[in-house]
Amino acid sequence: MTTKTFKRPDGRKPEEIRPMSAKVGVVPNADGSAMFSFGDTVAIAAVYGPRKMHPQHSQNPEKGTLRCNYNMFSFSVAERARPGPNRRSTEISKITEWALEPIVMIKKYPNMVVDVHIGILQANASTRCAGINAAALALAHAGIPMKEMVSSVSIGKLDKNLVVDVVKEEEDWEEGEGATDIPITLTNSGKITHIQLDGKITSEELKQVLKLAKKVNKEIYEVQKKALKESVKF
């Protein structure tokens, strides 16, 4: 797995996540909202609804609809990002929707839609993971029925070493086998709702990746749980 001489650019241990923070209720106008950050990567999510789906022909009388929108703000990266939807953000919006759909129970809201808006305030890799974590918190905060919580983390393979929570510098790793980025979303009970893979990996290594993801997701879950519980004062 990890060779002894391997060192991460920011000096973290291979299984160390960047310092995380989470807060709910950051957008007063929304029905539910949350902020989640992995170090420099900061995501906010706002949930609106359930509300009536417009236009009417998009309504589904069998079950409610979940609609996600991922957006990177132009100031989120060092070089100004062109605002507005693009190929990448459209894909991530859809991926987020698929990652969250198995846990939200919106069967009881026919003809209605739950809107999730994710904004990336600052980006330093793992933005989709931070986005999904924030979205899960915001959905819970909006009082949407959910089977359980999800937490997301990106696992990286730098040359032959597995690391947790990749940063930009590591994404561009070029030594040896190069970098492989694997964002994974797991429910609290360890079921996978989303997995992506960008690079090359053996099936044996992928098994280790999953094991690692399950282990570190517990830490993320605790952060999310704490954020939700501490937002209520007695």
């Binding site: 026919p110 819970a140 009082g143 089977k147 359980e148």
Partner: protein, 223 residues
């Protein structure tokens, strides 16, 4: 069992002793929360009280709404809920001629109504009860529907204090709309300030005493 904040997927209780109520689900032996809120147990029934989110219409709720449209057999009412509400002609306690429906409730009128039932297609309303009907005068205040129980207080203690201190008539709709009627507009605005204070401090314990203190201070300042 004491009240505690739970998050979706969290196990509240286990064993055959408890029954799953609102906001919970039974998975095997365990009762699991399916929404974020306060878990509470009474008579073995475990339920989760919502802390946030939109207004969920329930049978028997008294609500305040605005007439949106008149159809051939009733009125469409906006009650701040994603499902539309409808007040049928048959639920008005007196005879109404179909030509004169706008004279009973016109578009834009505010009404106090009770929820007769909720089905998949919509919410049915009734005004066949005391205190229901058109709002003639006064002021409508809006608060978050999750804060309504705090505005009313235990057995109406909170609203009782506000009524006593201001001398206004107050009707609280479960959907978060509150109708205030007083002799002077100043009194109505005073009620508004008091309700906003309650909504803001809704999570503190001993709120009723706090509000009494707030009233004492406000009155002291005036004289």
């Amino acid at each position: 069992m004491e009240r505690k904040v739970v998050i979706p997927g969290e196990v509240i209780a286990s064993g055959e002793d408890y029954l799953p109520g609102e906001g919970t689900e039974k998975r095997g032996q365990e009762i699991v929360a399916i929404r974020y809120g306060l878990a509470e147990e009474s008579n073995r029934l475990v339920r989760v009280i919502a802390l946030s989110g939109i207004y969920q219409a329930r049978r028997g709720n008294v609500i305040i709404g605005k007439v949106e449209n008149i159809t051939f057999n009733g009125w469409v009412v906006d009650i701040d809920s994603p499902i539309g509400a409808f007040l049928p002609l048959s639920e008005v306690p007196r005879f109404v001629s179909k030509e004169a429906m706008a004279e009973v409730f016109d578009i834009g009128d505010m009404i106090v109504a009770k929820i007769l039932g909720v089905n998949g297609r919509g919410i049915d309303l009734t005004i066949k009860s005391r205190g229901l009907g058109r709002i003639e005068e006064g002021m409508i205040i809006k608060v978050n529907s999750n804060k309504v129980p705090r505005v009313i207080g235990k057995e109406g203690s909170m609203i009782g204090i506000i009524k006593k201190e201001t001398g206004c008539e107050i009707t609280v709709g479960q959907n978060g709309l509150i109708w205030v009627k007083g002799n002077k507009i100043e009194d109505e605005l005073f009620v508004k300030r008091a309700i906003m204070f309650v909504a803001e401090k809704s999570s503190t314990s001993g709120l009723t005493e706090e509000v009494q203190k707030w009233f004492d201070k406000q009155k002291g300042g005036k004289e």
